[in-house]
């Protein structure tokens, strides 16, 4: 009986050690602190180029912004939930960056070409920051861009009107035109300032 108790006690101790050790085992050897607040791609790929109509009236190509760090987001000007918050976050981040913001370009591509022409996008984006550039085009052009960037956009009808359920994250593209990171919706301006500062210093 005494031996049984001793064995049980030993088993409990071993179990405790196993539970403690097992829970702390390594899942992977590489786990340094992340350099960016956003999710990072490894290896980064070149941002697929496109040729859309810019809100400034000219052609909008992502390749035109080599040398700058680009925040690339997708949405539509009638969006009441996600887009105003994201665009305001970009505007606040740019103001916090002060002079360094000159090398940061926000590019915002519509998922709603039916309503978002270049003039409407210019007016809408200008309310947040006059440097923001919008992109529009045909359904086919915009669909091809969304496919290249893995963006979803689903039209939701509501009576005579409609809205979109669309991807809400933002791509961070470095000065070489590579998609370095993806920032999920909801991050603060300070998180953007942090990551933009890292990318601007490269």
């Amino acid at each position: 009986m005494r031996h049984t108790a001793a064995r049980c006690a030993t088993a409990l101790s071993v179990l405790a050690l196993v539970v403690s050790a097992g829970a702390t085992r390594a899942a992977a050897p590489n786990s340094g602190p992340p350099a960016l607040k956003a999710g990072t791609f490894d290896p980064p790929r070149q941002a697929p180029d496109f040729n859309l109509l810019g809100s400034n009236g000219g052609a909008l190509k992502i390749s035109s912004y080599r040398g700058k760090v680009v925040l690339l987001a997708f949405g539509y000007t009638s969006c009441t939930a996600v887009c105003p918050i994201t665009l305001n976050t970009f505007a606040v981040a740019r103001r916090k960056l002060a002079a360094a913001a000159a090398d940061v370009q926000v590019v915002y591509i519509t998922v709603d070409p039916q309503r978002d022409d270049a003039a409407r996008m210019k007016k809408y984006l200008g309310a947040f920051d006059p440097t923001f550039v919008g992109g529009t085009g045909t359904e086919q052009q915009l669909g091809a861009v969304r496919k290249d960037y893995g963006i979803s956009a689903r039209k939701l009808r509501a009576g005579d009107s409609y809205s979109y359920d669309h991807s809400s994250f933002t791509y961070l593209i470095d000065r070489s035109g590579r998609i370095r990171a993806m920032m999920p919706y909801g991050h603060s301006p300070d998180d953007y300032v942090h990551d933009l500062t890292v990318l601007l210093k490269e």
Partner: protein, 142 residues
């Protein structure tokens, strides 16, 4: 109860308390904070053949300070929408979390169209550590 029986129970009770103390008071340190999911090579071909392939659960639980970095890897030969993002063959995506909260991402791989990531606070109390370790053990056993 006999004296021997009482002694046995006492030993077992003491061992249980000691075991719980070890589990509860030993700080949780993890050599890696990554929670890794990978799309294996051949996944696209299996899907095209009509097989249902589930890689990401619809809900992923992470713990701040312990395992709070979601790592996705595309080891297949074709681009894949994996969780919230498009990934090229051979590419990985590493997403850190800094706040305990519930995050919802659009994810076309799931029937609901959504993937939820629950980030729990760092277990700093003994009971929280015991719960966390038992949950990890159960997860590893599955």
């Amino acid at each position: 109860m006999t004296r021997r029986g009482a002694l046995t129970l006492s030993v077992l009770a003491a061992a249980s308390v000691a075991a719980l103390a070890v589990v509860g008071f030993t700080p949780i340190h993890s050599a890696s904070r990554d929670r890794v999911f990978a799309i294996p090579k051949g996944t696209w071909a299996r899907r095209m053949a009509g097989n249902k392939v589930e890689i990401l659960p619809s809900q992923i639980r992470l713990t701040l300070g312990v395992r709070d970095i979601l790592v996705l890897r595309n080891q297949d030969d074709v681009p894949q929408i994996f969780g919230p993002t498009l990934m090229m063959p051979g590419q990985s995506f590493r997403l850190p979390f800094e706040r305990a909260a519930e995050y919802t991402f659009a994810c076309t791989a799931h029937a609901s169209g959504q993937m939820t990531i629950v980030v729990e606070p760092n277990p700093t109390t003994p009971w929280a550590r015991i719960r966390w370790r038992l949950a990890e053990l159960a997860s590893a056993a599955r």
